[in-house]
Symmetry: C2
Subunit: 377 residues, 2 copies
């Protein structure tokens, strides 16, 4: 039966990272538990919601952990409750010891708390992913790529495949694409040394959790694939997510180099103007903003008969091509601009009924977004 002592705040930090995979209400009740496994050289915390799983390992070699293992073993504990109890303890360290009937005693300072746990046999087996030949990426690069694409995935389960991000690695090019059929975001990354190839669709929600769990001090991440799961691995954290099944739509056919009108905006100033437009357009169902591009002026207009209207001249850095009037949901443009880190953005239009594209003025090759207009009149 397990017995160890550990630094409270380091233990708590690992518990909280693991808890990100645990839903307090799950169709499978046992998944609200956290699995605590103690080996002779480390403790491992496991949490899962059936979609993603997180394994967090604290080795005795971690000097900040103050980890002293007296006896090995494993137990399941109600995750939220256990974490609240650990966080309430008075001392800087905590002793944990399993006693009869899957109970665990926590001692810290003069406090002694006994909690009921469960047998680890009740915990489902998490699918395994082989760990050979990883693709190694800078964590920061992968998180940027996720931030630039995952938001554009669909939130609706009507077409499940669109809730994912399509990630393709082929010919030393890593491409990530997401679309909810109203807008699309695609980021490419050149990986000169890579010999790996894959083509997977990963849930955008899993990718956002990955970004939250892998903090910026984790320099690199190893990526492993099985038939149905992907494992993102650092020295002490293993993050598993299932893949989405199905064929991702061909998004390349949506992209064209053709355009009739081009305007370069300051990213932030355009975003603020669209946020004002959204306040008024949002008062009407399916409210849109109308962009008027004329030779001497680019302006935005909203008219929501119930609440009011907006008329606003937009600041531009440059403009070329024909005059054009186009209407769209300002939310899509706001979210697209938030994903853009460059100070200026190039927007290219073909016609009032064809999607328009956004590219950062400084990296048009590798990052492109597309927004579908709304037909009005």
């Amino acid at each position: 039966m397990l017995k160890f002592s550990i630094n409270k705040s380091l233990f708590l930090q690992a518990l909280l990272a693991t808890k990100r995979a645990i839903a307090s209400k799950n169709a499978i009740p046992i998944l609200s538990s956290l699995k605590l496994e103690v080996s002779s050289s480390a403790i491992t915390l496991t949490g899962s919601n059936g979609q993603i799983s997180i394994e967090n390992t604290i080795p005795t070699s971690n000097e900040n952990a103050g980890l002293l293992i007296s006896s090995t073993g494993s137990i399941l504990l109600e995750a939220s409750f256990f974490i609240n109890v650990v966080s309430s303890l008075p001392d800087v360290s905590v002793d944990l010891e399993e006693i009869d009937h899957h109970q665990i005693v926590l001692k810290s300072g003069k406090s002694e708390i006994t909690l009921k746990g469960k047998d680890v046999d009740q915990y489902p087996r998490l699918q395994e992913v082989g760990t050979s030949n990883p693709l190694v990426l800078e964590t920061k690069l992968l998180k940027t790529l996720i931030a630039e694409t995952a938001f554009a995935a669909s939130q609706q389960e009507s077409r499940p495949i669109l809730t994912g991000v399509h990630m393709v690695l082929a010919n030393q090019e890593f491409k990530a694409v997401a679309t909810d059929s109203h807008r699309m975001s695609q980021r490419k990354l050149r990986l000169e040394d890579s010999t790996t190839e894959f083509d997977v669709v990963l849930p955008s929600r899993s990718l956002r959790e990955f970004s939250a769990v892998f903090s910026d001090d984790i320099k690199t991440v190893e990526i492993y694939l099985s038939d149905s799961q992907v494992l993102f691995k650092s020295e002490h954290i293993s993050f598993y997510t299932r893949m989405l099944e199905g064929t991702y739509p061909d998004t390349d056919r949506l992209l064209t180099n053709q355009f009739e009108t081009e305007v370069v905006f300051k990213t932030e100033s355009l975003r603020h103007a669209m946020e004002r437009a959204f306040l008024i357009s949002n008062a009407t169902q399916n409210g849109t903003v109308r962009l008027e591009i004329e030779a001497d002026k680019v302006s935005a207009h909203v008219n929501s008969p119930e609440v009011g209207k907006v008329n606003e001249e937009l600041e531009t850095l440059s403009q070329s091509g024909s005059d054009l009037t186009i209407s769209f949901n300002p939310t899509y443009l706001i979210e697209a601009l938030k994903a853009l880190k460059s100070e200026s953005v190039t927007v290219r239009f073909i016609s009032p009924v064809r999607p328009f594209t956004l590219t950062p003025a400084d990296d048009a090759e590798n990052f492109i977004q597309l927004i579908t207009p709304v037909r009005t009149n």
Copy 2:
């Protein structure tokens, strides 16, 4: 029709303070509006939820307001929406002008937003309170008194009078008491110069809102009373709250100087122990903590058969009197200790079935709290 220009951030600050009185969903729909009145020397913002009303005045003499009034008038505007629009404006200043049909145009930078408003005649008349012979208090003192008592008022409408704080000023003594019949908190304040006398019950929720609206840079507050309302007034803010009707129970009879057992605890250490106890006791309905006072040891115990148990020795500074075992809901003790600013707390017990009292070790005369035990076995 009104027309003025004003500094955006100062305007926004006043709007947000006024909005604290406005509920987004109110049984009286017009109360989701904010009243904007422009006189020749000031603008006044009014919000109300029927229980409390806030009037915020910005005079032209306020140099930070950059207030230029071109024309007087008044209009009702949907509060949340108007505030979101003002906060989205691009420039540091905003021009407001009423046009035909109760519409208002906001201009800021290159942005022009038109909003629909309503006729002020639709706004209910807020009851008036005469402004002569105020009681003047330090804002900080009044806010402390509220923080020490309002939390102990009832949250339940079954006995509406108990949702209030009983405030009595007589013989130069200001006394505030709140109780939900399980616990009580009473604070007294000596006001040497006061000739005013009153006896009112004010909703604890109103008092908490008052504390949020009157920031610490407002040095003093004037208090005025009518038959049914109280007005708290500073130079630019008028805060009205209705009184609760009915007779407040006689709480003085609950207090006695008699006691059998006295223990002095460190406030914070006792609170943390009770928070741990609460985590476990809370897993059981009506769960309690059992305090055991013995000659050589004071300890706390919880047993929740479903989840686990707590046994904890408590740090004491001193103790006297007979041994005693008493059970109570730890929530009441946690909240009582949070209201206490002193480092140590004196707890006095009569018997396991009689309420026990808490007093700050440094001001036992003026601040006393009382908690009713739970009979077990």
